[in-house]
């Protein structure tokens, strides 16, 4: 019984630390893109890291109110979200040219990727610290 409890504790702790890290990275990216103190975001489908640790973000249930739309999938994206800034959570999301960038896990490591032309098209100027994540 004690072993089961310890295992459960370790798993939840590890999971919590992963989602916590992911949430922090997301928040840095969102603040860099939106450049507001309290950006409003809309999460398409479900993204536990941000839902559980929203921090200084306003999470809206309406896409039209959002400064930025965070995607967990591209499928079923509401019509109202068209024209909004889209940011992905998988490498594959970048295949959609409306997605300005993506944050995803690959090889157990966090990866961030922006396309320069998409940023320019949306008149987004990121901080210099993001340069190494921007692809030409």
């Amino acid at each position: 019984m004690i072993k089961i409890l310890i295992f459960f504790f370790i798993i939840t702790t590890l999971h919590a630390s992963d989602t916590n890290l992911e949430s922090k990275i997301f928040k840095n990216i969102i603040h860099a893109i939106v450049q507001k103190e309290h950006p409003t975001i809309y999460i398409h489908k479900k993204l536990n890291s941000l839902s559980n640790h929203p921090g200084g973000l306003n999470i809206s249930s309406k896409c039209e109110d959002a400064d930025l739309v965070i995607l967990s999938t591209l499928k079923g994206l509401p019509q109202k979200c068209q024209g909004k800034l889209l940011f992905g959570s998988r490498y594959s999301h970048l295949k959609n040219s409306n997605v300005i960038g993506s944050f995803f896990w690959q090889k157990g490591r966090p990866n961030i990727l922006f396309y320069k032309d998409r940023l320019k098209k949306n008149q987004i100027k990121l901080d210099n610290s993001f340069d190494k994540y921007i692809e030409k």
């Binding site: 630390s17 490498y91 690959q106 090889k107 157990g108 490591r109």
Partner: protein
């Protein structure tokens, strides 16, 4: 805190051996952890070296096949890429989670050339950017040497190897290999069972140590309690013997202190006030003694005080101060103003006694003299009192027997020679020792004679006689030494129990036995008269032998003559014995005095005694003494 404490073997084991073993088990556990780290390090190094060798071989293979064009051939030709990715997959093995080939572009960003990852969700595309968390990749490029790092931040990866592929002195790519965290867990799991065993042993020993110390503490507390008298909070008699195992009497003088007429306080005011008086007296005495003295409640209202000091004046002056202080003290107990006095017997040289019991006996004898002298006084032992008693049973044995209810009375019936019916029982004092053996009075009475213990024993016998009269309606015959009836305490017991209770005393005969020649016949006559006034029959025991002779009959009002057993035993063989018994019987008959023959052991003796007109018969032939009272 105890003045002294005897340290046993188990105590040494608890205090020294157990902590030592606990320390050893902790050291073993610690040593195992160090060894485990070393073993872990060796396994880790072995695994890395094995993989580095494999990667090195494959690097040579790539070098040979692709050479300087490694980047362009892979980037420009998907089939080449696919072929080498398949080769890379074969190299991967179970312990490597990710195996990939990177190159550094002109912006110094790392990009994938090959990726052996099978999972399509985790597989990188060719030329996809690779975000580096550590600088091992750049180091591999600049140093052209293999770089190894442990992934502290990533939870699924353990160790990452960056192996530079050098062609013509230039690094063209870096082979990356991520060891899965599972490998680390496998090694840990392999080594853990032993660690758990050592850990459990260390924890077990630590818990045992804690329990042992708790037990020692509890033992110490309970042992301390067992040595403290709960009422007065001073040491009890058991502690005296514990104390003497580690201390010598050489530097001590011994006092026996007894509260005068304490029983009357209990009888008149109740035991609560009696207890209060005891506590008050103890506190008063404590204020006159020092830490180095030993004050013990020896039993009831009797105390023993060991004064530390070699000058004989020490004990005497302290005793006098204590006596005066108690005499002047008024004890206020529940609206009663009480005064009490104490008697003190002092043994100035307890060290000269054979043992503590002898030393106490001497002090107790002095206490007896102090009581005889009228109480509220002090008696001090002289040098002649130092001679040791030769009696086999010590005063403490008798005290212990009293406390443990081992002072008993056997009863032997006395028969009517005419009706052959039991007319009374003689009480015979016995002590049951620790082993359950019956000890006869000759073996223990001499050691307590002239002490307060003797009075206590007499009290027990009298109480038993009353119980037998009341409970079983028996007539009882009780033995007293002639000196006993001169003892005021014993006479007071008889008066307190039988005064105005002739319904009891008429069932009781007192057999007087004489150890010394009577000097003051008038005093004896007076005491015997007092006993007769209380309603007792008076018998002369062992008549016809020793001091017991016809003079009694001239001076004393005797009811019964108990003919000495030695005359009865020689009745058939010795014509002089026969004639003496015949003369006694005739004389007694003429005087109206009843006769008892004791130690009757044969039918011939019974018949002869009947012929001689003896009234009562007693002896083994008729019935042995028994503890069966019903």
């Amino acid at each position: 805190m105890f003045k002294s404490f005897k340290v046993g073997k188990s105590f040494i084991i608890f205090v020294f051996l157990l902590p030592f073993m606990t320390l050893i088990s902790i050291l073993i556990y610690n040593e195992y952890l160090n060894t485990k780290e070393k073993v872990f390090s060796i396994i880790e190094k072995h695994l890395i070296n094995k993989k580095v060798t494999l990667i090195k071989n494959y690097s040579n293979h790539l070098n040979k096949k692709l050479g300087m064009e490694i980047q362009s051939k892979i980037l420009n030709n998907p089939k080449v890429c696919q072929k080498y990715e398949e080769e890379l997959t074969l190299l991967q093995g179970d312990e490597i989670k990710y195996l990939y080939l990177l190159y550094r572009d002109s912006d110094k960003k790392f990009r994938f050339l090959l990726d052996a990852t099978a999972n399509p969700k985790d597989k990188a595309e060719t030329n996809q950017k690779f975000d580096t968390l550590t600088d091992i990749w750049n180091k591999a490029y600049t140093t052209q040497k293999v770089q190894i790092t442990k992934q502290e931040e990533l939870q699924t990866l353990w160790i990452t190897i960056a192996y530079p592929i050098v062609v013509n002195g230039k690094v063209l790519a870096v082979l990356g290999a991520d060891f899965t965290y599972n490998v680390y867990k496998q090694i840990v799991n392999t080594l853990s069972p032993m660690e758990e065993i050592y850990l459990y042993v260390a924890i077990f020993m630590s818990i045992m140590l804690v329990i042992a110390y708790i037990l020692i503490y509890l033992y110490y507390i309970s042992r301390k309690k067992s040595f403290i008298d709960p009422l007065t909070q001073i040491y009890n008699r058991q502690y005296l013997y514990e104390f003497l195992q580690t201390a010598s009497l050489e530097n001590y003088q011994l006092m026996m202190i007894d509260l005068d007429y304490f029983k009357s306080i209990n009888d008149n005011y109740g035991h609560d006030i009696g207890d209060f008086v005891l506590i008050s007296v103890v506190n008063e005495i404590k204020s006159y003694i020092r830490d180095q003295d030993l004050f013990i409640r020896f039993g009831g209202e009797e105390f023993l005080l060991l004064i530390n000091g070699q000058k004989s004046d020490d004990a005497c002056s302290i005793a006098e101060r204590i006596r005066e202080s108690i005499q002047e003290k008024t004890i206020l107990a529940k609206s009663h103003k009480l005064s009490i006095t104490i008697s003190i017997g002092i043994n100035l040289f307890p060290f000269y006694a054979k043992n503590i019991d002898e030393a106490i006996k001497i002090a107790d004898e002095q206490l007896y003299h102090a009581k005889i002298a009228g109480r509220n006084s002090i008696a001090v032992s002289r040098e002649k009192d130092m001679k040791q008693s030769q009696t086999s049973k010590r005063i403490s044995d008798v005290k212990e027997a009293i406390d443990n209810n081992r002072i008993r009375c056997a009863m032997q019936p006395i028969y009517s020679a005419y009706t052959e019916e039991i007319i009374k029982y003689e009480l015979l004092l016995r002590l049951i020792d620790n082993e359950g053996n019956i000890v006869l009075p000759d073996e223990f009475l001499p050691s307590i004679r002239h002490t307060q213990v003797y009075i206590s024993v007499t009290q027990i016998v009298i109480d038993f006689a009353i119980e037998m009269i009341v409970k079983n309606d028996y007539a009882i015959s009780l033995n007293l030494d002639l000196q006993d009836i001169l003892n005021e305490d014993i006479m007071n017991i008889f008066k307190s129990k039988f005064e105005n209770r002739k319904e009891l005393s008429k069932h009781m005969s007192i057999e007087i036995l004489e150890h010394e020649e009577i000097v003051n016949f008038d005093l004896i006559k007076q005491k015997l008269s007092e006993l007769k006034e209380l309603g007792f029959e008076i018998a002369i025991d062992d008549f016809g032998s020793g001091y017991a002779n016809f003079r009694y009959l001239l001076h004393l009002q005797v009811d019964i003559l108990k003919i000495d057993g030695s005359l009865i035993q020689d009745l058939d063989k010795d014509k002089y014995a026969y004639h003496i018994v015949k003369t006694i019987a005739n004389f007694a008959n003429d005087m109206g005095i009843k006769t008892v023959a004791e130690k009757v052991e044969t039918i011939d003796e019974v018949n002869t005694l009947k012929e001689l007109g003896i009234d009562y018969l007693q002896g083994y032939y008729l019935a042995k003494p028994s503890f069966d009272y019903e």
